[in-house]
Structure formats: C-alpha cells, structure tokens
C-alpha cells in the first residue's frame, strides 16, 4: 500500500507536467488552426477569383461595382449575404480586393491595370477588359495564436490568387 508521501510526490509531478502537456496540445491545435484559417481564406479567394473571371460588364475600377460586391459578400458571408457570420472571425467583405491586371507588351510584365482610356481598365472610352485578376486580402488577415501563459505575436496571413480574365 502506498504511503501518503508518495501520493504527494505524484501530484507534484503531475502538476508540473500537466502545463507542459496542455501547452503541447494547445500549441498543436493552434498550428492546425493557422493552417485551417489560411486554407479557408485561400479557398475563398480562389472562389472569388473564379467567379470574377467570368463576369460580363463588371467595372473593376469601381470599388462599389454591384457584381464585385456581390461576389465579395458571397465568399465571406455565404449565400445568406451580408450580415451572416463571416467565413473567418472579423473578416469584412470590403477587405477582399479584386485588382485588374494588364500584360504590358513593351516590357513583358504583368502589372496593375491603370484605370482609364488608352489601354486601361474601367468603363471609359478606349478601355479594355483586364488580362488577369489578382484577388488579395487588403493588408492581410491578422491571426492571433491563443496559447496559454504566453502572448504570441500576431501572424499576418496574406494569401493571394491570380487568374486569367475570361470575361468581357
């Protein structure tokens, strides 16, 4: 039969080890949560890019374009639209940025499409549909790992997706 002193030692041991185990488990879970958040955001951007790349008559130079607003709301809030709970915590539909891009024949680079005539994007005379769309989260999505006993640095998740534009 065990003596009281032995039980006490066991309790102390356990008390020392439990925080370590909890830290390990929570740390592992946080890792997973960061991955999940990143994957979710990336997939949402991919969805937005897919929908935006087949739009007809959308003005990519207008931040308030109704078609683009609808897409942003859809990927963040789902079919219920604005007001439903967002895809990830505190994500605002406005934070999803759909940037038109243009291939420059002179230097062979892909850069942001200027808004306006003479080869730019938008709706003015002499504009043309963008060549590519770049979908990003404005400023990145800040993720704060929740680990007990420690204040962790915020991790900025910056997924982005580029697709060729196939609409008009």
């Amino acid at each position: 039969m065990r003596r009281p002193a032995s039980r006490g030692a066991s309790i102390v041991e356990t008390a020392l080890l439990v925080p370590v185990l909890v830290l390990l488990m929570v740390g592992g879970m946080e890792f997973g949560k960061i991955f999940l958040t990143y994957y979710t955001l990336h997939k949402a951007l991919r969805g937005a890019a897919g929908m935006a790349s087949v739009l007809r008559g959308a003005d990519f130079c207008d931040a308030g374009d109704p078609q683009l607003t609808a897409i942003r709301n859809f990927v963040v809030f789902g079919p219920d639209g604005n007001g439903a709970s967002p895809l990830v915590r505190d994500l605002d539909a406005d934070r999803i940025v759909i940037t038109p891009e243009r291939f420059n024949t002179e230097d062979g680079t892909v850069t942001d499409c200027p808004c306006g005539g003479g080869g730019g994007c938008g709706t003015a005379t002499g504009t043309r549909a963008p060549d590519y769309l770049l979908v990003t989260i404005d400023g990145g999505y800040p993720y704060e790992p929740q680990i007990p006993f420690r204040v962790m640095q915020t991790i900025l998740l910056r997924p982005h997706v580029r697709v060729p534009f196939g609409g008009q």
């Binding site: 030692a9 080890l17 592992g28 990336h42 891009e101 291939f103 850069t111 709706t123 060729p164 008009q168």
Partner: protein
C-alpha cells in the same frame, strides 16, 4: 524506500513517453495538413496556367508556343502577384531550398486523352483542344524529418490541371457584331462555306454583290448587329470600338436582359438600323460601314487610316486594342501565328433585312480570319460597300464567354473551361 523511488520514476517516464507520442502525432498531423495546403496552392497555380494556355488553342501550328507563353505570363512576378506555394512563401520555379517547377504542358485532341493523365496521347497545336499543365514542388516536413523515411525534411508534391474548349455554345459573348447568311442552310457544319477559301465580305443595302477583291472566290453580305448603341452620343466611335475589339463590356449593361448583350442561337437579333444608308454607293464619312472597316483595320495596323482619323479618340481606342502580331496574308490558317486578333467570330443568321429594321434569327456562330487587302497591309475604309477579305476557318478558336443551353447545335465554337 526502494518501492517509492521506483513508483515516482515510473510516473515520470510514463508521462514523458506519453508527451513524446502526443508530440509526434501532433507533428504528423501538422505536416500532413501542410502537404494538403501546399497541394491546394499548387492547384490554383496549375488551374490559372491551364486556363490561360487553353485560350490560345486556336488550331494553328503556333498554338503550342502561344499557349506556353500565356501560361508563363500568368506566373509573372513583377508585382508579386504570381501564384505561390507554402503560405505564399515560395515562387513556383523560384530559387529556394524547396525545389519547384512547372513540369510540363501537354496538348491533347480529345477529352479522354486529356484526363487520362500521363497515359493520354498528346498532339500538336493544330489539333489540340485540351491542355494539361503539371506543377511539382517540394513541401517541407518539419516533424517527419525525425523519422528515417523522411530525413531530407521535404517531399515532392505534384498536381495537374486540365483546361480545354467546351462543347458548342448556344449564347456567344464577346464576338464580332457582324451577321451573315449561310450559303447552304442544310450544311450544319460549315453552312456552305469552304474552309480555307477567301471571301469578299461586303455590306450593300441593295444586296447586289460588288466586284470580288483579288484573291477571293466568293462574296458574303454582312450587316452590323444592333448592340444597343444607336442612341449613343458618338455612334461612329462606338461602332469603331465594337469592330476593333469585339463587344466591350461597358457597351453592354448587365441590366440589359434582352438579346443585345450576346447573340443566342434560335433567338431573334436586330440589325443596326443605321447601316442601311440612303445612298448606297456614296462614299460618306460617318457611315456605319466605314466605321466597321476602320475598326477591323485597327486589328492589322496601329496607324489609323486617314479616312478614319475623324473618329473621336481613334488613337486611344487603338492603343486599347493593339493590332495582331501576325498581319501577313495567309493562305493556310495553320500558318497563322498571331495572337487571335484577326479571328472574327460572326453570327450566322437566316436573313439580312436591309430595308426595314426587322429581326433575324441566329443559326450559329462561325469564324473567319481577317486578311489584309491585296498588295497592302491594310483594309480600305474608303470602299463604299465596306469590302474586306476574310478566310473561312470553321470554328477552331474559343470565344471569350458564353453559355450553354438547349439550342441543339452539335457544332460550333466553345469557350474555355476547366475540367480538372
């Protein structure tokens, strides 16, 4: 005393073992999650490249090169917007301890071959309808590397995307707003036109055929489709822009639920009323026919014809729609090496009413290759009946956009879709 010491040690050992096992399992799960995540990112890159490449499958011998260039362009990293992997940390093909590359791009003629993976029979640019892009990259294994099987600390992940030209469309968008009548209504493949044959296209309100342009073997009457622009403040410019670049988005409001946005097979469409000029043979600046040829001319040269200079902001529109990279006279479509600007997708309609603004029913869509006029690199906008040369090519190139439906056509142009 002996027993007590042993018990205490046992507990510590047990917990330490448990912690180690727990740590190992958590580590495996994290690594596995990361592999899936990286595969997803590689997939996005492969999809984008395949879609860009498939838009260039236009049935010419240079299509493979065009497709490869287009796929590479998507991954241009000037602004850092190229699709990356490993939490956007690594560029594909970039210099890093994690090797990555676009493994290859294969062209296929049939869907079965395209989705058969490495077993499918590949083809060349002139017959390709599908493209498969393979991307491979190393994914880091932070925790698995403690195991003997993964001591390199990374593993290679491959992914592939297949894009291709779809089944025939019932509604085609972004096509040229021109309508022509079949030579043979019973021929549902070519409507009586002959592939590889050059035609003189003209627009004349009397319907009488003008003399043939050199090198052509037939005439085709065309008219300009009404794209809801007749109330525009500057009709000349709008028609010019329509013909220079297809139907640009701003001209077709989304709220427009009529047929004006995109022609649909089996649905009536309207001719632009102003095409019917009163004096058929009078050369008059401002006629829609002149604007039409001026617009088409912008596909061959960046310098506006003197006759077209009065169009408002003609240089600005031409900047937006630069001329084709291949403006040579082609006798064989397979030799055409341009960037698709010369391919005209027109609507085939059942009649061309010139005297009254009546409707015509759309029967299908077919494609022509715009040719420069004989002995020049340009078209002639001064021609009173708007003649230009075009070679009938069938329907090899995908159109910009469109929808399927129950129109029942079995042949015609498709659009680019992602298959896998």
């Amino acid at each position: 005393m002996k027993v007590r010491r042993g018990e205490a040690g046992q507990s510590l050992v047990l917990v330490a073992l448990l912690a180690f096992i727990l740590f190992a399992f958590v580590g495996f799960a994290v690594d596995l999650g990361r592999l899936y995540l990286i595969r997803g990112e590689l997939n996005v890159a492969a999809d984008a490249m395949a879609l860009a490449a498939a838009q260039n499958l236009i049935g010419t011998s240079t299509a493979e090169g065009l497709a490869q260039t287009a796929a590479a362009r998507v991954q241009d990293g000037t602004t850092g917007g190229d699709n990356r992997f490993n939490f956007e940390g690594n560029t594909i093909g970039g210099d890093s301890s994690l090797a990555s590359q676009v493994e290859g791009m294969d062209l296929y003629a049939t869907y079965a071959d395209a989705i058969a993976g490495d077993l499918g029979t590949t083809t060349d640019g002139s017959t390709a309808r599908y493209v498969r892009v393979r991307v491979r990259a190393d994914a880091p294994l932070t925790f698995w590397q403690f195991l003997p099987v993964a001591q390199l600390g990374k593993t290679s992940i491959g992914t592939a995307a297949v894009a291709g030209i779809s089944q025939p469309l019932c509604t085609a968008c972004g096509i040229e707003p021109l309508a022509i009548v079949p030579v043979d209504f019973a021929d549902d493949t070519n409507f009586g036109f002959v592939r590889g044959l050059k035609y003189t296209l003209y627009s004349q309100c009397t319907g009488a055929a003008p003399p043939l342009l050199a090198g052509t073997s037939g005439t085709i009457q065309y008219t300009v489709l009404n794209r809801n622009i007749e109330n525009s403040t500057d009709l000349d410019q709008q028609v010019f822009q329509l013909l220079a670049g297809g139907i640009p988005a701003p001209l077709v409001p989304v709220s427009d639920t009529s047929n004006l946005a995109c022609p649909t097979i089996g649905v009536a469409d309207l001719r632009l009323p102003t095409v019917s000029v009163a004096a058929c043979n009078a050369v008059q600046r401002g006629s829609i026919v002149t604007d039409t040829v001026c617009g088409l001319n912008a596909r061959l040269t960046a310098t506006p014809h003197p006759f077209c200079e009065t169009i408002t902001d003609v240089d600005g529109v031409i900047t937006s729609y630069p001329p084709d990279t291949d403006v040579d006279n082609q006798d064989d479509y397979a030799d055409y090496g341009g960037n698709r600007r010369r391919i005209l997708t027109v609507a085939i309609v059942d009649n061309l009413p010139f005297n009254v603004a009546t409707t015509m029913n759309v029967l299908g869509f077919r494609q022509f290759l715009l040719e420069p006029n004989p002995n020049t690199t340009e078209l002639d906008p001064t021609d009173p009946v708007g003649r230009f040369v075009a070679m009938y090519i069938g329907f090899p190139a995908p159109v910009k956009q469109g929808t399927f439906g129950s129109c029942g056509v079995t042949q015609g142009p498709g659009k680019v879709v992602l298959h896998q």
